[in-house]
Symmetry: C2
Subunit: 344 residues, 2 copies
């Protein structure tokens, strides 16, 4: 058991380049986003396991003695293994969920229960063992997603920049941290429908779309090369190239048909402040990222954020290439994060 409070965090993720093209075998770059999920693990003398996920309004508690009475021998404890459909069904019984319940809150609880019961069976958890954390995170993804790519857990575990292509995931050495704005247009979209629309455009116009995907692939590779150069000695010229790559890829994604009028507006608003943006992820709405060059003055950044907020968007100033899973002392945390964790 833990003898004291443990504070850990893991970063979020955005796709820097290669969304959609990756579905067709091209390289994509995912980067750790310094908007972090914090976890406070705290020993209790109440004899209960309490799960509190304030962002999605989940608060549950299980009696440890009762959990131990449950037959959890169906979980193979030890090295991270994939949850089977049968295991997930039996976990629903343990959680007291209906069989057909698949809402996000239920799935989050199931992922927690699966990891808690599997990992606690071995009483094993070390922060150095990133490989193992990554494997378990992937199994948690499997509970929720069904068929995850493995990129989200990798980027949250390792941080920095993750390259992925045809199932092969690798981590860039010494990626630079880049300041960005992450802007949510709040336009809802279906990733599945957008991926299908790109596939149908590829089938309809193979001679047009195949070289377009090749061009996106080359953008990802050029970006990877540029980030590698920046590790040695970052210069303003590197940022200018990153801006050109962002612009070209944004036009390419529009040519693939996964743009949206509000994403165009996002790009235009930031361009009016001399800043370059692209959609990130599936497109058709959702989020965009805006690169903040190091020569920018803070008032200009604030003016851009205000202009984006005036469009009705949500906007966060953060960074990409952020650290992966991290242990924190309470004193090292920003006050708002510390307060939020204390308040739970």
């Amino acid at each position: 058991m833990l003898s004291e409070v443990l504070l850990v965090s893991a970063p979020g993720k955005v796709i820097l380049h290669g969304e959609h093209a990756v579905v067709h075998g091209k390289v994509a770059l995912a980067v750790a986003l310094n908007l972090r999920t914090f976890l406070r693990l705290q020993p209790h003398s109440s004899g209960k396991v309490c799960l509190n996920l304030p962002n999605i309004g989940v608060k549950r508690a299980w009696d440890v003695a009762r959990l131990q009475l449950q037959d959890t021998s169906f979980l193979e404890q030890g090295d991270a293994t994939a949850p089977t459909a049968e295991q997930v069904e039996r976990l629903k019984e343990v959680a007291g969920f209906p069989e057909d319940g698949a809402n996000p809150e239920h799935l989050a609880v199931l992922a927690f229960l699966y990891l808690y019961l599997s990992i606690c069976g071995k009483q094993r958890w070390t922060v150095e063992d990133l490989e193992l954390i990554n494997k378990w995170a992937f199994q948690g993804e499997r509970v929720i997603h069904g068929n995850p790519s493995g990129v989200d857990n990798a980027v949250s575990t390792w941080g920095g920049v993750i390259r992925f292509q045809q199932g092969k995931i690798s981590s860039l050495k010494r990626p630079p941290a880049l300041k960005i704005l992450l802007t949510n247009t709040k336009v809802p979209r279906s990733t599945k429908a957008l991926v299908a629309s790109v596939r149908s455009r590829l089938l309809k116009f193979p001679e047009i779309v195949t070289p377009l995907l090749a061009s996106i692939n080359a953008i990802s590779l050029e970006c990877e090369r540029m980030l590698g150069e920046m590790a040695a000695s970052p210069a303003l010229e590197h940022y200018l190239v990153l801006e050109e790559l962002i612009d070209m890829n944004q036009h390419h994604l529009n040519a693939l048909g996964v743009g949206h009028a509000l994403l165009d507006q996002l790009c235009q608003v930031t361009m009016a402040h001399g800043l370059h943006s692209k959609l990130t992820g599936a497109g058709g709405g959702g989020c965009g990222i805006t690169l903040l060059r190091p020569d920018l003055e803070q008032p200009e950044v604030e003016a851009t954020k205000q202009a984006l907020t005036d469009c009705g968007f949500d906007c966060w100033e953060t960074s990409i290439g952020a650290p992966g899973i991290s242990v924190h002392s309470a004193a090292s945390l920003d006050a708002p994060v510390r307060q939020a964790l204390v308040g739970l």
Copy 2:
């Protein structure tokens, strides 16, 4: 000499697909634009050759007897031959222009004089002889441009749709006439600088831009194929494909860096009316074309034109795939054209 008034016209031109890519060996499609230049040839008993170009404010007259006194033997009369630099210099003397004068009005007068003196030497002009007209028109281009591609004269002579690639020019059989809006953003630009910027982007990012040019090439070929199908039996689906091609090429031209904020605005304004647009020609400002589907009601077209005019743009409703050089009877001309010609 002509015994009566001869009215002829030739169409203008826009690039449908392939601008910039053509510089790098790809296919481009040029289409005859039904905004026509009209010419009235009228016999005079004044003993003068009068040239009146009202659009560019040129009005000149030469005494035929005096012209005949000039030594014009330096012009080789007969089949269309290329004007030499020396011939152009001697024509400047005939016209009484300064040696270093190269403004558009002077160049237009020189092109006229060159063609008048060369062609009248043989007293030969027939409308059937399109090949010869095309050759002479090309020589006129040479006087003005220096190094013309031959596309502008070809499209004005033959009309319809002209395909060109690496100096090879051919004419599409039975191209459909398509209704369009031609919109001038009035943003001045330098074609030379824009062509150079694409070349420098190609050199800087060859792996990204080479496939992009291949994709533009495929758009031109797909458009050519679609126009060929439309000759047999045009259907709404053909127009929908033409719209998709227009959108993709517009994004590609933006990715090449030859877009402009006002061209984006043009596209957005027409898109708000459900219509698809792209820049035409060098980009960086200049003109855009908007395809008008046959199912459009005229009030919707008028509303779009008004919205474009409200942006400060000039907008003409016209057609592409228009007839080439044509002879007209005065009665067949639209009243405004007839009046303009009579008023000269």
